[in-house]
């Protein structure tokens, strides 16, 4: 995992390494400063000349300035490296997601991808910053301080032999105990927040059933367990400070007693007053650096969850590949399914499609009917190779779809998805998704075909009307027509509408179909619909049921041969006319 993440550091290696260098200098100076201050105290004690004191003082000032510069630069480069690292992570993830096939996309929910690209990256960025700032600093500080303490304190530094192991064991113990407790709490905490979200979303249901008191009680109980668990976990961590203080105080007492004995007995030869002071300072530094190390340890382990989730995205293998020497021309709009079977996951038990044999000539209009879950969408998604077949072959223009360059294939097979979306931007921007070079005239023409021109022109800003995120400022029917127009701009050889006119009124629906027949007769049109009226006049109608083609033929033929078709037809036309749908 670390290896995977470190590949994203790239151009930020330089500032990262510079950070380490600056920090090394900063640490060296920081460790020398107590040495100088001890010297200063000694000089004052010894009644040194003012000039002597001045020079030592100025030396100290100079060191502080150098340390400031190093520390400042380290802070700067460190921020640069970590921000850059985070940027690369986001970049790589986004890049990877763009290369995902539909199969890959299905494996991640869009909200989880958003969390991975925001919160998780942020966590890793923070951990990385912490790492390069302190991971070298603390051990260095520790080593330098130990060395300096040994040089200055000699035998006195044996105190660390006792204190350091105690602190290390204590800190590790606390971290070890606290981390699982925190993980548990955070999981529960996430669940609590999810249930709040559910509650906020479903407030109409809560109020509608007058369940406010019930919800309060439920929430109170859940929140109480969080409080108990959180308190437990935090109380373990709260032992850190006292433990640290005990070690610190023990060290001080030891240095003072043993130090004064040694100093007085040797008459200041083995150790003098300044050195005792310095020992106290180094003691603090040593113990602090240990404390920092334990904090890094905790923080790094905490962010591994996030790192793992990022790596899951980065390591996801796109499940679809172009063949080595792809074909870039699609000859015509004919489609052939040869004994095709398909399932969404390799380990899925049930096939979504089974034994499909289907031949569609270029320019035909094909209607597909079937209940929810009858795999209508699965069938058409194989044509632009959104998914790969499990068995059999799908051919477009006489060639196996897997032999085309994906971009070429999808350029000729335009599909209007069932769950369709417009993006924030003007209507023009949205339409040009179909063809970035389309002229304004072409946009208008496509909109005319899709019966969208009329309402677009009625907007005050016309084609420059800004579409809000999710297309909330146009109605469902308008959105569907714009999506159809967007697909038409590709001038495709095959056009697939997956239940794309469900919110359009029957009259307009008929008008659109009429336009298709008149203006793009050579384009193969496949229309999935709930309404019989939308497919009645198609050259071929497929009735899907449970992943199979239950019946196929023209309207008249099917009325005679297919019970399902007749049932649906009669149900929808009882009373004399077709009806409306949401």
């Amino acid at each position: 995992m670390l290896k995977r993440l470190s590949r994203c550091v790239r151009e930020n290696k330089r500032p990262a390494i510079l950070t380490l260098v600056f920090i090394v200098f900063e640490v060296i100076i920081e460790c020398l400063i107590p040495f100088i201050t001890a010297d200063l105290v000694n000089r004052i004690n010894a009644g040194a000349q003012p000039t002597d004191i001045l020079t030592t003082g100025l030396l100290l000032v100079a060191m502080a300035v150098v340390s400031l510069v190093c520390g400042g630069l380290a802070g700067y480069t460190c921020a640069k490296a970590s921000a850059g690292f985070a940027k690369n992570l986001r970049h790589d993830m986004f890049d990877k997601i763009q290369s995902f096939s539909f199969g890959n996309i299905d494996r991640f929910s869009s909200t989880s991808l958003v969390t991975r690209m925001t919160t998780d990256v942020n966590n890793v960025q923070m951990a990385f910053m912490m790492l390069i700032r302190t991971a070298i600093r603390s051990p260095l500080m520790f080593i330098f301080s130990i060395v300096m303490a040994y040089i200055m304190g000699g035998a006195l530094s044996t105190t660390f032999v006792v204190v350091v192991p105690v602190l290390v064991v204590g800190l590790l113990f606390i971290a070890h105990k606290a981390m699982p407790a925190f993980r548990r709490v955070f999981k529960k905490y996430d669940r609590l927040n999810e249930s709040i979200e559910e509650n906020v979303r479903g407030m109409r249901v809560v109020k509608g059933f007058a369940r406010e008191e019930y919800e309060k009680k439920k929430f109170g109980a859940a929140a109480e367990t969080i409080r108990v668990d959180f308190t437990k976990a935090e109380r373990i961590v709260a032992l850190n400070t006292p433990l640290m203080q005990i070690c610190l105080y023990f060290n001080m007492a030891f240095v003072l007693i043993v130090g004064s004995k040694m100093a007085i007995e040797s008459q200041g030869v083995t150790i003098d007053v300044g050195q005792i002071s310095a020992m106290l300072t180094y003691g603090i530094q040593i113990l602090m650096s240990l404390m920092m190390l334990s904090m890094i340890y905790v923080m790094l382990t905490m962010s591994t969850e996030s790192a793992k989730r990022i790596c899951e995205v980065l390591d996801e293998e796109p499940s679809m590949h172009e063949c080595a020497d792809p074909i870039r021309e699609v000859a015509d709009g004919s489609i052939d399914f040869d004994s095709v079977s398909f399932k969404y996951a390799a380990d899925a038990k049930k096939y979504a499609l089974e034994g499909i044999d289907l031949h569609i000539r270029s320019g035909m209009t094909v209607g597909i009917l079937g209940g929810t879950g009858s795999s209508k969408s699965s069938l058409v998604q194989l044509i632009p190779r959104l998914y790969d077949v499990t068995e059999g072959t799908v051919r477009v223009g006489g060639v196996d779809v897997r032999q085309y360059a994906i971009e070429a294939l999808r350029g000729e097979v335009a599909m209007v998805l069932q769950k369709n979306l417009l993006f924030s931007g003007t209507i023009k921007d949205n339409l040009r998704w179909g063809n970035a070079e389309a002229t304004d005239e072409q946009l208008v023409e496509a909109c005319r075909l899709a019966c969208a021109d009329e309402f677009v022109s009625s907007f005050p800003d016309g084609y420059d009307t800004y579409i809000e995120q999710g297309g909330t400022n146009v109605s469902g029917g308008q959105k569907q027509r714009l999506c159809i127009a967007r697909a038409l701009i590709k001038k495709p050889k095959i056009l697939i509408l997956d239940d794309s006119t469900s919110a359009v009124d029957t009259k307009t629906d008929a008008k659109i179909r009429h336009a298709f027949r008149t203006y793009i007769p050579e384009t193969t049109k496949i229309i999935i619909a709930q309404r019989v009226a939308s497919v009645m006049d198609a050259d071929l109608i497929l009735v899907m049921d449970g992943g199979r083609i239950a019946a196929q033929g023209t309207h008249e033929q099917l009325l005679g041969t297919s019970d399902i078709y007749r049932e649906v037809y009669e149900q929808q036309t009882k009373g004399g006319s077709s009806d409306e749908e949401a």
């Binding site: 201050t37 200063l40 000089r43 004052i44 004191i53 001045l54 030592t56 003082g57 340390s67 400031l68 520390g71 380290a74 802070g75 700067y76 921020a79 921000a83 985070a86 986001r90 997601i97 763009q98 995902f100 096939s101 996309i105 869009s110 958003v114 690209m117 925001t118 955070f186 249930s195 709040i196 109409r204 249901v205 809560v206 509608g208 406010e212 929140a223 109480e224 935090e234 709260a238 400070t241 105080y249 007492a253 004064s260 007085i264 007995e265 008459q267 002071s277 929810t372 959104l386 971009e407 769950k419 993006f423 998704w433 995120q469 009124d505 307009t508 929808q572 006319s577 009806d579 949401a582």
Partner: protein
């Protein structure tokens, strides 16, 4: 919602876009601070003072030892040339023992306050969470319609987390450092006024520097938040539309757009953190410089045997003054450093607290209703008597001003009389709407989006209150009925189904918490949901997560219908309840629905006209007015708007 692990950035710090960016210095909101403290005192009248005492005590006991250390060191100095440890011991050891005593006391105080702080922080946050949630339950639907759900959620996630930091870490540090600063300051004055003054000048510089950098850092943190928001919005849109992106082979264009946003975020994040990172070294090293400065000043004063001014009088400056003073300098600047590190957390925590308080201060849904719904039975003389047990007969218990009680049986007779309504002042949604629904009737509303269909049902269950006119339920003005009882008597099934985490059974039982498993299954049968539930891997015990994302939209609607069925209410409101069920499945569901609607007053809203055709009366709404009413046959006969809708000449959107 994985925000808590490391929440260094708070989304809500972002001011509304377009707000002037002048002096984005984080401000300490003292009113919010006061309220937090008052609440703490209220929740923990005993523990809070104990904790504060412990903090002060531990701060004092860790400042005083510095003095003892100096005393020990100066004794060493006096004895060092004698080499007589035996005699020196009698002087040094007792001092160290006092020191150890102080340490022990200090450690006890520290341990105690750390544990107490954890307990209080978690308790406080728990109480805040519950208070927020309780208040939220009592807020009118209007609040949820006018506030983004994400914003409401961030109270629970971001804001509570910033408050945790504030209370558990920043406030204690602030108290502790202030006490330390005060104690040291007093001791310093008692040592030397001159040197204290010099130090104060240095400290002023230090504070100014940290203020400057703090301002710069918060400015970029705010910018960073904006970039984060822009990034998140883009990513969200693209992740949602990923399949469309693929269909149009638009990947490279997306990459390009994202690159720009991503770079902006990097730039802002870099600057924000650079400022924040630099603050530490600057304060720290100014501390070092101050130390050197004090040493030099002290040395010079010593060399020139300057007179020393202390609060106890004038004396000669000596080594025993300067050396402890230097150590105190270090402690002093160290404490200032600690305070300056807390500044951002405090400002953010209080901003969070302010938002949480704002939620808690929203006016709750008023309920002045006094008519309640009770179980009842018919006495022998035909009058209605209130009972404890469930009889299947319900009655409205209506207390009158003169102290008498009347009971009206719950029948489901709903009448709207000349109702006007506006969600926003000056934008009326309903004009003079009158609807009469006799018990057992099916009333349908048909019309374009925004015509006011859902609004009418919102008024019947009092999600909103009417502006003018009257709504009567079994002859009682609904304003007099207790809201919870009113809603209990109305079953609603909405287009957007909301299910809750829990098993399928739990979700059905939501309609009636006392229902047995059998009753729930019966309700599922009625709704036509039993078949698909039985096919689920664990049947009725299947866990639903994430609003039932493992079910199809149609299946979720069936569950919502079953949930309403188990409540067995006399009046049902079906708002596009079957919109996502395909016509074929709907035919199957229809039988169950028909049974469900039997003997109930039902309000139906539907796009699909086949759903409403058999209604007793169909109301066609247009721009908040009822323009046509009658049975299907009558309306077809009339060849008006309904006829046009029916023949598909109009688009229902």
């Amino acid at each position: 919602m994985k925000k808590h692990e490391m929440p260094p950035m708070k989304k809500n710090e972002t001011p509304p876009t377009g707000a002037p960016m002048k002096r984005p210095k984080p401000k300490i909101d003292f009113r919010a601070l006061g309220r937090v403290l008052r609440m703490l005192r209220e929740f923990y009248p005993v523990l809070l003072p104990v904790t504060v005492a412990c903090i002060i005590f531990s701060a004092a006991t860790s400042a005083i030892p510095a003095l003892f250390i100096e005393r020990v060191i100066s004794s060493i100095e006096t004895w060092i040339d004698t080499g007589d440890w035996a005699s020196a011991r009698t002087e040094i050891i007792p001092m160290v023992l006092i020191l150890i005593g102080l340490y022990v006391v200090s450690i006890i105080a520290i341990t105690l306050y750390n544990q107490l702080m954890v307990y209080m922080t978690q308790g406080f946050l728990h109480k805040m969470r519950c208070a927020m949630f309780d208040r939220m339950q009592n807020l009118p639907i209007k609040y949820f319609d006018t506030n983004k759900h994400g914003d409401i959620m961030s109270y629970y996630t971001n804001d509570i987390d910033t408050m945790r930091e504030l209370i558990s870490r920043s406030l204690p540090t602030l108290v502790q450092s202030s006490v330390t600063l005060l104690v040291i300051f007093c001791i310093m004055i008692s040592f030397s006024v001159w040197m204290t003054l010099v130090l104060l000048v240095g400290v002023t510089v230090m504070l100014m520097a940290s203020g400057r950098i703090g301002a710069g850092s918060s400015k970029y943190f705010i910018r960073q938040q904006r970039s984060v928001a822009a990034n998140e919005a883009f990513v969200q849109e693209m992740m949602n539309g990923q399949k469309v992106v693929k269909v149009f082979c638009h990947e490279d264009a997306c990459r390009k757009d994202f690159e720009v946003l991503n770079n902006n975020l990097r730039e802002d994040s870099f600057r924000a953190h650079a400022y924040a990172n630099i603050l530490g070294p600057i304060i720290n090293n100014i501390g070092h410089v101050l130390y050197a400065l004090m040493a030099m000043v002290g040395g010079l004063l010593l060399a020139f045997e300057a007179p020393n001014l202390t609060i106890t009088g004038i004396g000669i400056i000596s080594i025993s003054v300067i050396v402890p003073f230097l150590n105190m300098t270090r402690q002093f600047t160290g404490s200032i450093n600690q305070v300056s590190q807390q500044f951002n957390t405090i400002a953010m925590g209080l901003a969070g607290a302010k938002r949480v308080f704002a939620l808690m201060d929203v006016e709750p849904e008023a309920d002045e209703g006094y008519v309640t719904l009770v179980n009842a039975r018919r006495a022998e003389d035909g009058s209605i008597v209130e009972t404890e047990e469930h009889t299947g007969l319900w009655a409205w218990k209506h207390p009158h001003g003169d102290g008498t009680l009347t009971y009206t049986p719950l029948e489901g007779d709903v009448r709207l009389n000349g109702v006007d309504f506006a969600y926003e002042e000056g934008k009326p949604v309903l004009h003079d709407v009158s609807v009469y629904a006799a018990p057992g009737q099916k009333v349908a509303f048909v019309g374009a989006t925004g015509a006011g269909k859902t609004t009418i049902t919102n008024l019947i269950n009092r999600f909103y209150d009417i502006a003018d006119g009257k709504i009567r339920y079994d002859g009682i003005n609904i304003n007099k009925i207790k809201k919870s009882d009113l809603r209990r008597s109305l079953g609603i099934v909405l287009q957007e189904t909301n299910l809750f985490s829990g098993t399928v059974m739990d979700n059905i039982r939501y309609g009636n918490l006392d229902a047995t498993d059998e009753q729930c299954i019966e309700a599922a049968r009625l709704a036509g949901a039993h078949d698909f539930i039985s096919r689920l891997p664990k049947g009725y015990d299947t866990e639903l997560a994430n609003n039932g994302s493992n079910l199809s939209q149609g299946q979720r609607q069936l569950l919502a219908i079953a949930r309403a069925a188990v409540a067995d209410p006399p009046v049902m409101i079906m708002d596009e309840a079957t919109s996502s069920i395909d016509t074929r499945t709907e035919a199957i569901v229809q039988r169950g629905m028909d049974r469900l609607m039997e003997n109930r007053t039902v309000f139906v809203i539907a796009h699909r006209l086949s759903t409403v055709m058999d209604s007793d009366v169909i109301m066609v709404l247009d721009h908040g007015r009822i323009i046509e009413r009658g049975t299907h046959e009558a309306l077809i006969e009339a060849k008006g708007t309904y006829y046009q809708l029916y023949t598909g000449a109009f688009e229902l959107e």
